[in-house]
Subunit: 342 residues, 2 copies
């Protein structure tokens, strides 16, 4: 924090009061004569004066700052969200504090505390939710605007704002696609089951199975953690069952892990095993074969969540507490038709 020229200096140089300077800075200058206004503007320019936002915040109770709490910016799903958030924030003159929690409730708590001390105007939050969510309830109850993104929390609170994907539908779509292409023995690699989105994708998978009268086999459901490595491990297990012809990996990263294991073991994709991912991150179209996956509009989701948050902050009406984005199936090359009788 540098020592800098202050409003006092400007006032002195312009031979006016600081009130007057303040007014022109804030465009509340209806009642200021053109002449003094110009003089002040001139001096501000010459001196390269920049108002101190800290001092301003102390009186206005607004910091024009938003906290973005996510598990890990290093997970390719989140940069898009962060970018959408930042772009929106930027438009409305807000800045974003980036906070990585690794789905660790303690880190979440620390960041919540720090963000409140720093008086952020609002918080965008992707939380691991299921094991503990009291801190989130507390946060929301504290009155600070909060928009949940990507993962909703239980229980459904009346007061919760959120931007989510219809993960249930996404899981359903992925599974149905495999079924309709003839697959019957479909494994599912889930996300960490303490997240709502992982649970919902799994539920979508189960529903599709039962809609088509396929028995749900718990040995075909393997819990992963949304990271590459868990996809590799899960694939090892899955191929022990020779009947499996299709895999639904609940995110693309785990699908990459599956690719790795399968290729190492000499399986061909999709000839021997078909794979559907989830997220549609950038690299999924580069992979060989290109990954068939469920697309999430992550950038838009980040943008929307921030837009909602800013409305909340600025007291505008927000019509829908929860906005739900639709998943869509992106057909590429990692799935083939399966004929039982071959």
């Amino acid at each position: 924090m540098q020592v800098a020229i202050t409003i006092k200096d400007i006032a002195r140089l312009a031979n006016v009061s600081i009130t007057t300077v303040s007014k022109v800075i804030n465009n509340k200058d209806d009642s200021i004569s053109e002449q003094t206004k110009n003089k002040i503007l001139q001096i501000i320019k010459e001196t390269n004066y920049q108002p101190n936002a800290i001092a301003r915040s102390l009186v206005t109770k607004k910091t024009k700052t938003i906290g973005l709490i996510i598990p890990d910016i290093t997970n390719p799903f989140f940069p898009e969200i962060a970018r959408g958030a930042e772009d929106c924030a930027n438009i409305y003159g807000y800045n974003i504090f980036l906070c990585n929690t690794d789905d660790n409730a303690e880190k979440e708590n620390n960041y919540i505390a720090v963000l409140r001390e720093k008086c952020v105007d609002g918080i965008i939050f992707t939380s691991s939710s299921i094991p503990k969510y009291e801190h989130i309830i507390d946060l929301i109850d504290s009155g600070i605007p909060v928009v949940m993104i990507d993962r909703s929390i239980e229980p459904k609170l009346k007061n919760i704002y959120g931007v989510f994907l219809d993960n249930y539908k996404g899981g359903y779509l992925a599974t149905k696609y495999l079924i309709e292409l003839g697959h019957r023995n479909i494994a599912c690699i889930t996300g960490p089951l303490y997240t709502k989105s992982a649970i919902e994708r799994l539920n979508g998978y189960k529903k599709a199975l039962s809609d088509f009268n396929i028995e749900i086999n718990n040995s075909m459901i393997i819990e992963g953690d949304f990271k590459i490595n868990s996809g590799m491990v899960a694939a090892e297990k899955i191929i022990e069952n020779k009947d499996v012809t299709g895999i639904f990996a609940c995110n693309d990263l785990m699908a990459y892990g599956v690719y790795k294991t399968l290729k190492k073991k000499g399986y061909r994709i999709p000839d021997d095993i078909s794979i559907v991912g989830f997220d549609d991150i950038q690299l999924s179209q580069i992979l060989e074969p290109q990954l068939t996956t469920i697309k999430q509009p992550s950038y838009d989701m980040g943008l929307t969540a921030t837009r909602v948050l800013i409305k909340l902050i600025e007291g505008e009406k927000v019509r829908k507490k929860v906005v739900k984005f639709e998943p869509s199936l992106i057909e590429r090359k990692s799935v083939r038709e399966y004929h039982n009788n071959i």
Copy 2:
């Protein structure tokens, strides 16, 4: 920004002065009796009081906040840096403002202005540098601690702190590797040549060529922009020249683009054309074939830059103004030996 309980309230409830409260909050409590200290602590806990960092900053002139200015968090190279930065910041009690500039000088300027208004204690900066760098000089001259990361700027300033990779050596390493495996006609897809790192990688390429007495052919040097698409476009051009057996793509993303084009056109990697990338981002080991590339320790670089910055902020001695990381070649599967006589 919520209305909250203040130090005044605590003082009143504890029947002490706000000074006393302040002292115990800040652990300057040598001279406070255990008894009053405990009473105050107790009340703080009961009331869930959190000091207002804004008010504190106004008097201490420290915000415990750092600005991180990067081109685009969506480029897989930067999340690692951001995460390293955040992890380090977190250890020392700092928060990070995330700023994406798209290498746009105007956005850079805006962010610099805003960050200064918000009184960040220091700035970590990846800048497109060559076309215009006066604003960076101004920034540094203003006295606020700045650490450049990833891309250095011209001219070498005495006062500049930075954390960089030896990009020249990286370019050299990549090219030499291809040469030593028998390649003679090696194309280079550069980054945007207004960045120092792109220029240096290209220079390394050229030096390796000339060290091995291979003529530099300008038609084999194609300027890209570090994005996937430019790799695709460049590859189209490169394969017009049937002699080319090796490609040095100056980052992995462009190498992915090359993969895409080559595969589409029926080329096999590395059988028909060998490729070396640069960065070693996460996905490069998933690609088929796994990409041989030059590794940058991005996370460590982010961490180190932040550590240096915090030392600067807190007035500690920083021995080396510039810390340079060493690139290393990661041999994987995208390069094969080339025998001229086959």
